[in-house]
């Protein structure tokens, strides 16, 4: 069989077998509904409450500040729509950045169409927002600042504590989309003054379709999903008990391994960051060289286009991702690569490799070896490269 190298862990991750075992129990013998009063239902109730404790401990929150949802996008939607609706008396202004995930950007665009005001902060060429620009953007009617913890494409980690301090000083609420950061880098919602935080289970070797929103005690927020009394009457719908328990197991494992894993994965990342520019000419690193997620590698290869790069890599057994327009069917390349100032043709040639604890040094070297050949092959086909010669 051909070697398979999975380098798309920012898209989703392999579910830990311990997580599957945990979930199996709640799909199988322990299938009770947590809202039922008999013991069988209460067993499930206890399981999700224990999961709440575990998940809360990852970010130094309290268990009753964690609300389970159907995933990161729901959490982002809820945080933004719910906070804006509940605080209408205070104002209608949101501050976000140009490089947010679409779950945040499209929610803000939706609100802008419905009478809310949105400021989109710029980022520099490394993908960092400017704290002074943020501070200047805050107005009397600013209700919410929503800035992602770490970017899903280029891996840049924002100065979260500083943003939290600014928000607190100006009386604005601070939400962060931490889908790529949760369980990967240390997060402390108290120390960082984070009021709301979104996370998703499947980015930390947990199941798809489950996530959570941390809502600091006392924050006013309207419901997004109306119905039954689940999640302290804030998020209706019978709980995804197996998903929540699997999420908890994944979070527990992420906590236990975090320090060791960060150093291992960032070591592999830095091997890519060092070796790719040594081996291939005309490449550009996208994202901050050091303030970046341990598992994120993102390069642009001049003169070639990302989709063909991905397809040729796939033929070598390597799964990766690109910000090229052609991978999404859109006309423009990724909004993140545009926001950091890449010209279109360079943005079209981007490649994201996202690593995990299952990535090996051998995988890295195999990928670099194949990448050299594939980039060369595509360049020999490219009129942009041939003209340059």
């Amino acid at each position: 069989m051909m070697k398979q190298v999975y380098l798309d862990n920012a898209a989703t991750t392999m579910v830990h077998k311990e997580v599957i075992e945990t979930m199996d129990a709640y799909y199988g013998d322990l299938y009770g509904n947590p809202s039922s009063i008999y013991d069988f239902g209460q067993t499930a109730k206890k399981a999700i409450n224990s999961a709440r404790e575990t998940i809360a401990s990852v970010i130094n929150a309290k268990a009753d500040e964690i609300y389970f949802t159907g995933g990161g996008s729901e959490s982002d939607n809820w945080a933004i729509k719910g906070v804006m609706a509940a605080n209408r008396k205070k104002g209608n202004h949101i501050i976000t950045s140009k490089i947010e995930h679409h779950a945040v950007l499209h929610t803000c665009e939706y609100l802008a169409k419905n009478g809310y005001e949105v400021t989109y902060l710029n980022v520099d060429s490394d993908g960092l927002i400017s704290l002074s620009e943020l501070e200047e953007a805050i107005r009397e009617n600013t209700v919410l600042i929503t800035i992602m913890f770490a970017n899903n494409e280029i891996g840049t980690i924002q100065p979260i504590k500083e943003i939290g301090d600014i928000a607190k000083r100006h009386g604005a609420l601070f939400h962060t989309d931490a889908v790529q950061a949760f369980g990967h880098v240390p997060i402390d919602v108290k120390e960082m003054n984070i009021d709301l935080l979104s996370s998703s289970a499947h980015k930390i070797h947990g199941p798809k379709g489950v996530g959570m929103l941390y809502i600091r005690k006392g924050i006013k927020i309207d419901n997004l999903i109306h119905g039954g009394a689940q999640e302290s009457k804030k998020r209706a719908g019978t709980e995804n008990v197996p998903g929540i328990c699997g999420y908890s197991k994944a979070a527990e494992m992420a906590m236990d391994s975090m320090n060791e894993r960060m150093s291992y994965v960032s070591g592999l990342r830095d091997r890519f960051l060092k070796k790719i520019p040594e081996a291939i000419e005309n490449v550009r690193l996208n994202g901050h060289p050091t303030k970046r997620l341990p598992g994120n590698v993102n390069f642009s290869f001049e003169f070639i286009e990302g989709e063909s790069l991905l397809l040729y890599l796939d033929m070598e057994g390597i799964s990766a991702s690109s910000g090229s327009a052609c991978t999404s069917g859109a006309l423009d390349p990724s909004h993140v690569l545009m926001a950091i100032g890449l010209p279109h043709e360079i943005a079209h040639g981007s490649l994201r490799l996202s690593l995990s604890e299952f990535t090996t040094e051998e995988d890295v070297d195999y990928t670099i070896e194949k990448l050299i050949g594939v980039v060369h092959r595509l360049r020999l086909m490219s009129p942009l490269y041939i003209r340059r010669k």
Binding site: E307, L311, A325
Partner: protein, 146 residues
């Protein structure tokens, strides 16, 4: 997402490269949109395309469309080549996803642009491309029948 034929032409593209002393060269598309195709033609005194090569910056279907277009016009008379339609390229490839139809349009246009260049250089008039101008933006191209 792609047919086996598209993948086969993508994996093993035919006629990649340049022709140093080409009789006609056509380039269409732009880097901003993420695809550029350049076609080189060698044409004999009977107006037969004896050789054709291409260079393409673009996605999988752009490379496959270029490869297929060159195969379809190689050895053909210029009057046949000028009639090459994007639909013929799509058919020969066994279909293209709707969002990739513009790649076949680029291939058709690259062939026409190269033939127009030949006509200009040789002082000939090729019926159908007397006043040839590639469309400004083929990305808006849409065909409900496909």
């Amino acid at each position: 997402m792609y047919t086996e034929k598209v993948m086969e032409h993508f994996r093993n593209p035919r006629n990649v490269g340049e022709i140093e002393d080409a009789d006609g060269i056509g380039q269409v598309g732009n880097a901003k949109c993420g695809d550029i195709m350049k076609i080189f033609l060698k044409i004999d005194d009977k107006d037969i395309i004896t050789d054709v090569k291409f260079l393409t910056f673009g996605c999988g279907s752009a490379i496959a469309s270029s490869s297929m277009a060159t195969e379809l016009i190689k050895g053909k008379h210029i009057d046949e080549a000028v009639a090459l339609s994007n639909k013929a390229v799509i058919e020969a490839l066994g279909g293209l996803p709707k969002v990739k139809v513009h790649c076949s349009v680029l291939a058709e246009q690259a062939v026409k642009a190269a033939l127009y260049d030949y006509a200009q250089k040789s002082g000939k008039v090729i019926a159908g491309i007397e006043d040839y101008k590639p469309d400004e933006d083929v990305h808006d191209y849409d065909d409900e029948q496909l």
